[in-house]
Symmetry: C2
Subunit: 329 residues, 2 copies
């Protein structure tokens, strides 16, 4: 099990300033197993009552401030860096950096990076503290390394829905440091350049090209199936960081202007069971989380598209201009 | 498929007063299949955009006003009568009475009611409009029929968490009109009297005694298992009508005072998957929906109790004083 820096001393110091009686703790799903231990520690050290939020939490788009307003005096949100949003209650963000040795994965990546001179680096919140070490390692091994800040993201940071930090780099290849295929896929689709993914937890390294190719074929098939759909659901989220009401209204209008029917369905957490009652709908387009159609397509028996994919269905964009949907604040 | 009175003309007249641009529609799960048809009609007649809420909705405790605040100008909530709560946005409640002939079920009930003189009647929101007809039928067949208002409920109305309308009636037997076993179970446990349930959808009639006996044995087993539990989760809801923060704090204190550990877990919709990360906990007590431990016990692999059941575990209440948990505003 990976361990993380929960920075409890810092949390205690910061929390004291709010003189709280009741504190909420919120974690992404992967960190929730640490919740009881942290709750007990904070209750003991601060003399407060802790409430642990157990709702799903997929990102900083998904802060429990609205749900916990009027219940807790302060919320500690772990695992994400803040987005430029207004929160209803005081929120302390703790990134929860992974305690992991990044060097073995970097060493393994050198083989796949051979032949490339200029390397762009990108990572997720849990490994941002390792970025300088990674850059130094790559430079020590003869690479020219570039990184940049993004729109609302820190240097080298990518989110599932925000790849702005990597888009403009003049590099030959990208090295993504972190686990999973989805972030590297985003870098690949937004930049069109090769992406090598190095997982510091497993030490495994791989080129994302085959995965990107498979996803693109799945997306192409979904777009093709959706062309026949006459009745559409526009899936909108009530989460503060995914709300995009104007986008939902625009998608409805786009569909109606093209002679199709469209209904806006609003949810907190989107899941296939919750769409079952709307069985008359033939396809969905998502103004909520940009990752949902691409990550979760296999859970749905009807085509579920991003707004950009709908543009392709409606002939307003060519397949050659395919890219992922982003939320940039 | 049962049909319901959605009172669209009344909705349109009432909605016009708010001059809305965007309207939210909310339904309990069983009525959601009617959502698209109603959305289209309201959009056409009112010239508005409709957003259909697809989150689970279990009662008037669960109104989407907080989630839809800042998004819709008006919310139409179908299927429940209002609770005495303050809502963040204007809400119109439409009970959605079932279009069903109640007489066949009543006729079938006469056999099971024979031998009883004074009959108390109770029903759920969907059949409140049939109460007078039911009373007349029973009186025409020689019964003395009693009904009463409850705390926050209408005459003869019971909710899954509110049986106050039936508790004080001086009757020999209760006739419950509606589907499902859970409401009749509540009447049985709160009054200690025989309960006959008549389902107007199927015409079926049954005595709830065997079901009540089975549920009580399951609850007794859950209480027995929970006696060994040292680490407890207190499950609290962030839903406005189920919040009960003071109860959650009291339950935590009760457990801690008895030498056990207790952690408050707060959720919007409670489900077993969301409790998986808290695997160190041995048992749960619920300050959220009173029905959850009794209705959903089979979904959980650990004992999950009502606050009243916890009192029995802690020796503060005897099994002979067993009853269901209620939320009375």
């Amino acid at each position: 099990m990976a361990d993380y820096q929960f920075e409890t001393s810092k949390v205690i110091e910061k929390a004291k300033k709010y003189n709280p009686r009741i504190i909420g703790l919120q974690f992404p799903d992967g960190l929730k197993i640490h919740a009881l231990k942290l709750a007990r520690k904070l209750e003991k050290e601060l003399g407060v009552t802790v409430l642990i939020s157990a709702d799903p939490c997929y990102g900083a788009c998904d802060v429990a401030d609205t749900k916990l307003e009027g219940i807790v005096d302060l919320l500690i949100h772990y695992g994400h860096s803040p987005l430029p949003l207004d929160y209803n209650i005081p929120v302390i963000f703790i990134e929860a950096y992974a305690k992991v040795d990044i060097i073995p994965a970097l060493r393994s990546s050198l083989k796949l990076l051979s032949g490339y001179d200029k390397v762009g680096v990108a990572t997720t919140t849990q490994h941002l503290h390792l970025l300088d070490e990674a850059i130094k390692f790559l430079e020590d091994h003869g690479k020219k390394v570039l990184s940049a800040k993004g729109v609302g993201t820190r240097r080298g940071q990518v989110l599932g829905c925000n790849f702005s930090s990597v888009k403009e780099l003049d590099v030959d290849v990208y090295l993504f440091i972190g686990s999973g295929d989805f972030h590297p896929l985003g870098i690949r689709l937004f930049t069109g350049k090769p992406v090598i993914a190095a997982d510091p937890y497993t030490g495994q390294v791989n080129n994302i090209e085959d995965f990107a190719d498979r996803i693109l074929r799945i997306r192409f098939a979904a777009i093709t199936r959706a062309r026949e759909a006459k009745k559409w659901g526009v899936i909108m989220s009530s989460k503060k960081g995914q709300k995009r009401l104007s986008l939902a209204l625009n998608l409805k209008k786009l569909l109606e202007d093209s002679g199709r029917e469209a209904f806006i369905i609003i949810l907190d957490d989107v899941s296939p069971e919750l769409l079952v009652p709307f069985r008359d709908l033939n396809a969905f387009v998502v103004s909520a989380c940009p990752r949902m159609p691409v990550d979760d397509y296999h859970l749905y028996d009807k085509p579920i598209l991003t707004p950009i994919e709908l543009e392709i269905v409606l002939g307003k964009r060519g397949w050659e201009d395919y890219t992922l949907d982003e939320i940039l604040f």
